[in-house]
Amino acid sequence: MSMTGNKISIKLTHQGVLVTLLFGLIITFGLIEPVFFRPSVLLDVMAIMGDVGVMALGMTYIITTSGVDLSVGYNQQLSAVVFGMVYLSTRNLALAIAAALLCGTVLGFFNGLIVAKTKIPPLVTTLATMYLFRGISMILAGSMTYSGFPQGFRLFFTYRLFGVLPIQFIYFTAVFLILDSLYSYGALGRNLKGMGFNEESVHFSGVKIQKIKIGIYTLLGLLCGFAALMYLGRLSVAKTSIGDWINFQVITAVLLGGTSINGGVGSIRGTFIAILIIGVLKKGYTLMSLSGNIFNFTLGTILILSLIVFAVTEERKNVVSSKIRKTNIPTRV
């Protein structure tokens, strides 16, 4: 009984730490650069993280099953390119939107199919498809940029509710609410965590594992397609550099949010807060005119630190690693 108590308190403190970190960063940036305290700046933080945010929410599902998808950024990129090409050749906005969403979904389905049907590890599968997707979009678009999308389309993603709340943030929150309720209260979340701990056992409970795998990779694909639209709506330029570093940001957000890279343990809410933290960093660095390299350096540091923290707390919590049991090494408990 004391153990379950501990487990809950650890979860709470993890999210507590994230919230503290978030406010700490805002205050620090605000002290250095007082403009940061302006509501418009803080609201902008919410707007710029929408596309990375929805992908991170979908990625949380996958990392919970101890999988990963490295191809997210280039899926987003290819979907954006497809949008640009379809729109500029047909001038049909609905068709272009549908094409982008479909492109993302199909690419995600392709990932899911390989991961579910073969024994190739997701890391390797999506490393390969990452270059595949990038290759395709380079062949299609090269160094071309597509722009000149209609104002109506842009409004979908730049609109501010009541004149203040960025609609990107509302999309992000909506996806968050749906994914979180399925994750925290639904059968799906139960199965995802079970798969992260011990896939065979979940299979022996009559759960259709392959279906779930294909489903979650496809869902992430769809979210990549949507993220492509959000990105285009915000910056209105489709080009072949928008996918760079995205997978790294997405995975960092998920792990910082408290989802274990070993699977089984995770939190969509953590991912939500972690996205805001990364947004604050990004905005803060921009205001302080620090380069993107320093931003990436900071993210890398956060990533390695959250991995270490997790490894240590997990050892303390005595979580039986499914990997250890599979290889039959006598565990030191």
């Binding site: 059968a187 065979e200 022996f204 009559g206 759960v207 259709k208």
Partner: protein
Amino acid sequence: MEKQPILDICGIDKRFPGVLALKDVSLQLLPGEVHAICGENGAGKSTLMKIIAGVYVADTGSILLDGQELHLENPNDAYKQGLSIIFQESSLFPDLTVLENLFMGHEEQKSLFPVLPFIRMNDIPKMRKRAKEIFIRLEMNVDLDEKISALGVATKQMVEIAKALTFDSKVLILDEPTAALTNKEVHTLFETIRRLKQEGVSILYISHRLEEIFQIADRVSVLRDGAYVATADVSDVSKPKLISWMVGRFLENLYPKEDVEIGETVFEVKELWQRGLLHGISFSLGKGEILGIAGLAGAGRTELALAVCGLSKADKGELLLNGKKLVIHQYRDALDKGIAYISEDRQRYGLVLPMTLKENITHKVLNRICNVFGIIDRRKENSITDSYMSQLSIKAPDGSFVVSKLSGGNQQKVSVAKSLAAEPQILILDEPTRGVDVGAKSELHRIISNLAKAGKSIIIISSDLPEILGMSDRVMVMKNGCKAGELLRAELTQERILEMAL
């Protein structure tokens, strides 16, 4: 003359958060004896062994090896001090050869150039020679260049024993060594133990199986709830006496199977084939009937269960449920039709250990307790959990307790509860009492018997002959993937089952 003990365990206490796992345990292992340690699950056997092995550090007390205080930094130190422990799970490297495993970490070496003595390489001929000598001592014929993964369980165990001998171990600790062995392999293992004993090796033998203790051990010590109960010469104690020490009371009947009127046939399997594994198996099952499936390990019993449930694919065959043809593509179909399978390996297939009781018990019925949006109904979930926790008297504080913290017997009950929650008409139990203590075993048997009384049809796959004999209305014996025969309750004897199985 009183012999000096080779391993002297004095007053060991070990406290874990919330529990005193061992209190004041003392044991003496004499040179050249086989000393059995028995006790229910959770009695502290494994903890004691892990303390001897250096995995845990005792809070108080001391361990003397050959009169010297034993200080172990880690399990590898134990080997070097002449103390070898063979765990239930193999600690061999499956992709390396027998020879490489034997000398892993302490390879025989020679210097490559006399002028540069620090450049050394493995002396393979020398290791090979020593390995051969050891296997001759064990009277075993093992191919030194075979990969471990290609060996059977029994041979792997022999390799572990041989590995212990490469360290010239004086003390050998065996943890449930016969758990995965067939009767014939157990016999071979016992021959080896006797041979080692004659050579003066002392053996600490941990086991649940009382029959084995009477066959192999010189003395036996009993632990109960972390405390030492008694030690006796095996020749001086009887089985009921030993059991009473373990549970603190006499068990009146180990197998409280009640007679149940067997109803009409509800389930039929006809000519089930699976390439290389199952050869045209047919059987039927009546309402309220318990069908035992006996056979040696590898006879195809588990394979049969998996094929019936859709967990593996049969090539040919027909299933009839209540006279209607049944089509099963995957396990979900079987569950929905009322057929549930409880795996023999609860840790790997039966349960998700790091998850809670509640999450495990309701895992097979999530589809039934969800609303249209896939959100779990907490009330239904809790009521299912509570009802099975009390029905099976699972000992845990509440439904949000993590399963990995439960004892083996309680884990097994959770595994059973998980399948019962699916409210099956046909229940297939694979080795339902493997690795559980005497008390839990008897309880599980009572539960199974009650299920039959309630009209469920049950298949028990078991290697434990007394269990098969005690529980079954009818027994099907399997051999090499074929059905060797069937016996009714009245004609059941261990000898007849073995005759068919061998």
